[in-house]
Symmetry: C3
């Protein structure tokens, strides 16, 4: 019924170099979707998928069934039975095959239909369900959703030597994955988001100067302190950050500073999974102490309010950010701020500065690659990261 | 911001004969909506509507108020008062009329406005609310939403002779009605959806061969076993199945095999009601025993988790299909699978087989009728089903 | 897949004079949005915003942060930090400034960025956040969101002399603001919505005849009883009603008839806030008695089911309108009926009558003003209401 709808004048916009291309989307068929499908993606925590179980997963706006056969092999297939569209994860596992709950069609691990109890012989061999390469590494299940052969696996090196591999609870974050990946390039936020309150003098006392450079495998980022010390962090393309972090609140320093791997897997354009594995350099009695302390910590997390409930209270103004108490405090803080930017951050309204150097470089790389894909030009051939480039603490 | 959005290539599609027409929609004004409005539809359980009560209902994407006058007469009217749009079911019943809660406009059972307390005399007679033919049969209230005279009523015959008429809880199913109607033509699913687990040999041991034929009143469907025995099931156009079913879990065989009537009434294109009446051939002491057992069963259902809560746990992968326990187990299983196909099943991706013969025939009939309506050609004149064609058990 | 979608024939429509313009929308850039932004709007209850706290608010489809500085000054700013879009209400207050939680950018009360701990000197002065005029009056915080200078403040007079200023709980109503503002012009609904049940004779016994006239500042409305007594109610443009109302249920007559101010502030086109302030003419011991009784009443409201839970039960047909019990009964009744008209009332289907005279006049005024804005013609210059035009009880 509107006669005329006047649009308000656009606010001042930064001259974003990626304004002509959507660097945040991973929907199938888009440049971003094609780019992201060149890589392995973390999907699930290995320990959460026992043999004989099937789970629904959603990755980059598409639905799949993830299951583990009786042999222990994990597999990813399309989520719908080709017959009548029933969800495959409702089916049951027989050896390493899966049988649909609706009419018993059975598919082997290559996706071939091998049994159709109520159909004529010969029909089954004409029917396949699509399957996707699946691997496990550092306590996580990874999948590959692109065309052709997947890249080598494991697709990233990790610290070797004694230690405990700790896989954290998987967080479902209600915003685009790029916001959280960008946040992992933003060392400066730590002094504010994770230590809210305090004066300018205190806050600006020891902030790092951020610089970054592109590599064969992603981006190397540096945080240089006034002391001249440099912290080096690795951002493996397209969504994995390897960094050394301080001991977690609640762990009371047990385990010390740990090397940690953050994966930000797109569920769809407005949601992602945050999957975290850490390598804790402890052995023997120290490892026992670490595990005991971590079990205690996990119990306190399980007993606490769900992370997103607290985040919603903060967003609604019912709870002040500075008043949050939660065993997973840093995770609550990060999600409140990053998903608080909106489901998909409006990057055209931003005013970026010196401290955003890592983010700015990564966006340029993304925009360049997506534009090449959109225009049918050759894109970068990403390499498996070398084992000898490692994150450093720097102070 | 997307530069170019490449669509992925379409997957292989079956040559669905109804690809040019939407056989699932019942929205007003569509061929499907016009087709479906030629028939009576089950709306509500009679026992749930006491005299003097009004309820909101939604049928085929339109909202109505259903009420029962003090005389016991049920009526259906538009849901909004013509004056200022207040919901009529908030009003109160006076004899067999209903008065709007906003300004007291009163409408008689023919829809004529007969009182407007704050308006000038003479205005009321210019105002009507639309009414819809309403009848009751077998413990259910039916309504007619088409143009012109409704078909004869009762619109389907039922078993006569002694027995108990049992009307089940009404289920609200979050998918298109046609999925559940089709499932009622799919005798083979019983061996899988309702008995999950088991080997190919066991599952395929005694599956029926399905055949079907069109009739004056709908479709007659046959399930032929290896023994040569034939189970005959009636599908009354457009959404009512009459079948003989085994005793319910939890009833411990009390009442034996019963004749049952399934109605699948569209709420809108993505939801339907599943209304069930059964005729249990018991009399005297057996009827008493049946009623007592059924009351016990109803109490266990009332105490159980809501059906849709269990279904959502299954869909989310929190509960395995084979691990479900619920007094309404078969209903949970059916809804999980049928609504699990999606809000509206994507029929163009299916790979139908021999066991889908009933579904294939019904879709052809639907597509033919809807195409005739779309093109303004004469459509089939459906007849009231004869009393002498009845379902048989067949084994 | 639909071949042809026939639209049902339009029902008979009243010849609404505003059919060519959307009088209900307040979205930015629309004629309605431009019109509404000429006025102050009630935003929050003063007592709910302590010094040092920030809250998210949404007004006319736009998001803001409302905060109170340590000096006690309330302020409204855009909700997103210009840097990277974090919600400003997650930040913390320092004196009368606010600092963003993401990277510590600090803004003074004029919106100037005054600190950026991690950025180079000189960048801050180039960055502003938009601020909006903010004032307090009668226990409420008001904001101005239009272009240029705001109108004089306070923008409406109020009863002076001894008394208690009582600010009610703020209700979030899930429908367009205009429905509730129109309801406040509809004196007749009281006999039905707030006294459901009863015969025509009883209901129509003493209904007022409604008349209305436009003024410099809004609309003056009269309800004339058979006795000749006239109740006069003031509707201050664009969404504020000043009226004398009977003692509240639950207050047992303590405080007597009070002068009350209803503000209906659009949250977006489908939601609004209902903010109520009353001036209760009591002093000394009577004021104490009033406050004690009101505290008791507030406790009973706090202990009762949330208003919207009850409304949803009524809408779903689980609870009959006449059976509602709730300490805020009148509010439950009003919201059930007014939001029951739909998120945005379909005014083209209405059949207005004599009793809708106030609504009809206000819609004409709105349509005239919005049409002038749409066509770039001069619009009315609204005046601050005079102190000597006051509401009267009239009986």
């Amino acid at each position: 019924m509107t006669l005329v709808e006047h649009r308000p004048p656009a606010r001042e916009r930064s001259a974003a170099p990626q304004a002509d291309i959507d660097i945040a989307t991973t929907r199938p068929g888009t440049p971003g979707g094609i780019f992201m499908r060149q890589f392995w993606h973390a999907l699930y925590r290995s320990q959460d998928l026992p043999a004989g179980h099937a789970k629904p997963i959603r990755v980059m706006s598409e639905d799949y069934t993830l299951f583990r056969g009786q042999s222990g092999q994990a597999a990813v297939i399309d989520n719908r039975c080709p017959h009548r569209g029933a969800p495959m994860h409702l089916g049951w596992i027989e050896d390493d095959t899966i049988r649909c709950v609706y009419h018993g069609w059975k598919f082997d691990c290559a996706g071939q239909c091998v049994e159709q109890p109520a159909e004529e012989a010969g029909f089954a061999r004409k029917v396949q369900i699509r399957t996707y390469p699946t691997r496990e590494h550092l306590g996580l299940i990874f999948g590959y959703f692109g065309e052709g052969e997947p890249p080598p696996f494991p697709h990233f090196p990790h610290r070797t030597g004694e230690g405990v591999i700790q896989v954290w609870n998987v967080e479902h974050v209600p915003c685009n994955y790029l916001q959280s990946f960008e946040n992992s390039m933003d060392e400066v936020h730590v002094a504010f988001t994770h230590q809210p309150g305090g004066s300018h003098a205190k806050l600006s006392a020891d902030l790092p100067i951020i610089t970054a450079e592109e590599t064969d495998w992603g981006m190397l980022r540096f945080g240089t302190r006034k002391t001249g010390k440099v912290r080096q962090t690795l951002h493996y393309a397209p969504n994995l950050t390897r960094v050394i972090v301080p001991p977690l609140t609640g762990m009371d320093g047990v385990g010390g500073w740990t090397e940690i791997y953050f994966s930000f897997t797109p569920v769809d354009d407005e949601n992602h999974l945050w999957l975290i594995t850490s390598h804790v350099a402890v052995a023997g009695k120290d490892a026992e102490a670490y595990r005991a302390k971590r079990a205690e910590y996990d119990r306190s997390v399980a007993a606490a309010r769900p992370v997103m409930d607290v985040v919603h209270d903060i967003w609604a103004g019912k709870l002040r950010f500075a008043d949050i108490t939660h065993p997973d405090l840093a995770i609550v803080q990060d999600i409140a701020v990053q998903a608080g930017q909106g489901r998909i951050e409006d990057r055209e309204r931003e005013r970026l500065g010196r401290s955003d150097a890592g983010i700015i470089l990564w966006r340029k790389i993304l925009a360049r690659e997506l534009r090449a894909i959109a225009e049918g030009r050759p894109a970068k051939r990403w390499k498996t990261p070398p084992a000898d480039v490692v994150p450093t603490l720097g102070f």
